[in-house]
Amino acid sequence: MATVTVHALTYTYPKQARPVLDRLSGTFPAGKFSLLTGVSGGGKSTLLKLIAGLLPNDEPASITFDDQPLSAIAPGQRASTVAMLFQEPSTQFTMDTVENELRFALENQQVPATEIPRRSDAALAFVGITPLKHRKLMQLSGGEQQKVALAIIVAMDSDVILLDEPFASIDPPTRLVLLEKLVALCTKRGKTIILADHDLSGYQQWVDHLAVLADGQLHLLSTAETQTRFAAFTPQRLQLTHVQLPNDQLTVCLRGTQLGLTHGDRQLLTPQNLKFYAHRTTLITGPNGSGKSTLFKALVRLGRYQGHIAYRDTDIKKIHKRHYARQVGLMFQAASAQFLNVTVAEELALSQKYGNSTYFTSTRIQQLLQQLNLAGRDDRVLYSLSSGQQKKLQLLCMLIMAPAVLLLDEPLKGLDYASIQAVMHILTTVQRDLNLTLILISHQLSGLNDLVDLHLQLADHQLTYQGVRT
């Protein structure tokens, strides 16, 4: 059991003027499950990393575990005090197999060699992944990797378990299993758990209380306040009032024939025939980790697939890569993957050079920048922009390219309400003016109604068009 106390913690990122955490104080009670929430980019990850001792902290005494700062704890004991499970499942392992990673972690804690197998096996059994013991980590799915990461923390017997948006890319059943195990760790083993997520949906029955991070300050809500907050919270609902089922009048632009998708040895999409329609906006929905992004990668020839994909009746493997890339573009989920230059102005100039310059005149681009609240940032380094600003700029860059088909992978991720409104307005206008084909994946569901014409749902490894729900 360990109580985490944060006292007057201030943290400023290098080369930033304003602190992200400003004399923040708060207590995370021992043996409780706290949900740390707040807007994207508000400092949740930073706070967790500071607690875990993963960022340099000028005042180590500002964070204590049962009144002891981490620096006062012997190096070999730190991981049994606090451990972290990260958002990106695949970059949190050192070794090749599950068993070797467990050995590595326990060796670091100087557990005697004879005791390592027993502790490893017990941890795997606790999380219910004993069959994965000899598997290669890189061949596991994101959900399995997160389970392994939890098993390692269980084996290390860490008192405080920190999780940074651990469910961002994993499927709902795995999420449930992990939440059950976390609650068991709290109630049966007295572990202190702090889980960060910007979205409150699906936590009400699991967590003890909410900790809200806003404007660099932390507010811990009591159990009663937490329940009130959850009661007032309504998860977003998808409301599509004018979607239609495909009909003969529509033109097919992309056609999958016996198209199947896999990840490792896991089938994501069982081979099926699939059509995407030109000059319309199609929304693809489905659970995390079900293969939506994998489908986009296949459509732009960045990933393997079974069967055939044709663009305007020509197999995409037979179209010259350079030519095809100008016809079917992808707005990547990670904004940084899109950028090729250093500053905002350079990035826009690149799009203008090769994009649709008759529509996107300099005046229009300036107007759009104004609408997106991005004006006057020409010389800013792209990678120092906030995640929301990056997302908006990324969208603008891809719109200026105006490919016949534009795939948008989570274009609204991490945007505030005003930005979502602006982006939706721009998307609707440009789509109409240039008669583009848009296909989008979005977890952000509100505000999509005006844009979406067709709705494709991915469920049970099958994609099917949906009509208006009554």
Binding site: T94, F332, L340
Partner: protein
């Protein structure tokens, strides 16, 4: 044989062979390496690859020297066989040594600091991610109308940015899994280093010395 000693033996012999001009020793080393590869059940396709590659490169090298140099036939034979020594010995080593076991041995037997051993291993796992990143950067450029070549700085720039991110994430993850630089660790598996390893190492090296210095052609 202990992997660290095996590595030392490999590098020492390769170094000596690079300067020595005794083709009979080269042939002996080729025969021994070939034998060791066969005993260890080398897949025939791999053996074919390990034979054709040096055949091609040694062939072009010797041919160029014949046309444009004044090397003696003896020296040409030495060069030709030398290439096979490198590749066959390398083939034997990689066939019989697992990178993970070698790294553990270097940590335990050769006292390589554990931060180097596990830093390498952590990056090893990223190999597929690196390939995917190169493909993604090139695809992102194509969608914007640019073709990135091996001489395009932006290709390297983007991949290095990603690499910096990954190394931050991996370093944090290792710390979170209890790794502390220069702190003592236990070993779940110990790599044995026994007298027999030293004998094998010593005798092999001695035999090569004898071969090189008794005046064989």
């Amino acid at each position: 044989m202990n992997p660290s000693l095996k590595l030392a033996l490999l590098v020492l012999i390769a170094l000596e062979v690079s300067f020595a001009q005794v083709w009979s020793v080269n042939v002996a080393l080729i025969v021994v390496s070939l034998g060791l590869m066969l005993i260890n059940h080398i897949p025939w396709r791999r053996l074919l690859w390990l034979t054709l590659v040096p055949l091609f490169f040694a062939g072009t090298l010797v041919w160029s020297l014949m046309l444009r140099g004044n090397a003696s036939p003896h020296f040409l034979i030495v060069l030709f066989t030398r290439m096979f020594v490198y590749v066959y010995m390398g083939g034997w080593f990689t066939l019989t040594t697992k990178p993970l076991w070698l790294t553990r041995s270097l940590e335990q037997n050769a006292k390589l600091p554990s931060k180097f051993a596990y830093g390498f291993l952590a990056a090893f796992n990223l190999m597929p991610k690196i390939q995917a990143e190169v493909a993604t950067v090139r695809a992102a450029a194509l969608m914007r109308g640019e073709v990135l070549h091996v001489w395009s700085p932006r290709l390297y720039f983007k991949v290095i940015l990603a690499a910096m991110n990954w190394s931050d994430q991996l370093a944090a993850a290792m710390t979170s899994h209890g790794f502390v630089e220069d702190a003592p660790r236990t070993h779940a598996l110990t790599v044995p280093l026994v007298a027999r390893d030293w004998w094998l190492f010593g005798i092999s090296l001695l035999l090569v010395q004898v071969g090189l210095f008794v005046g064989l052609p």
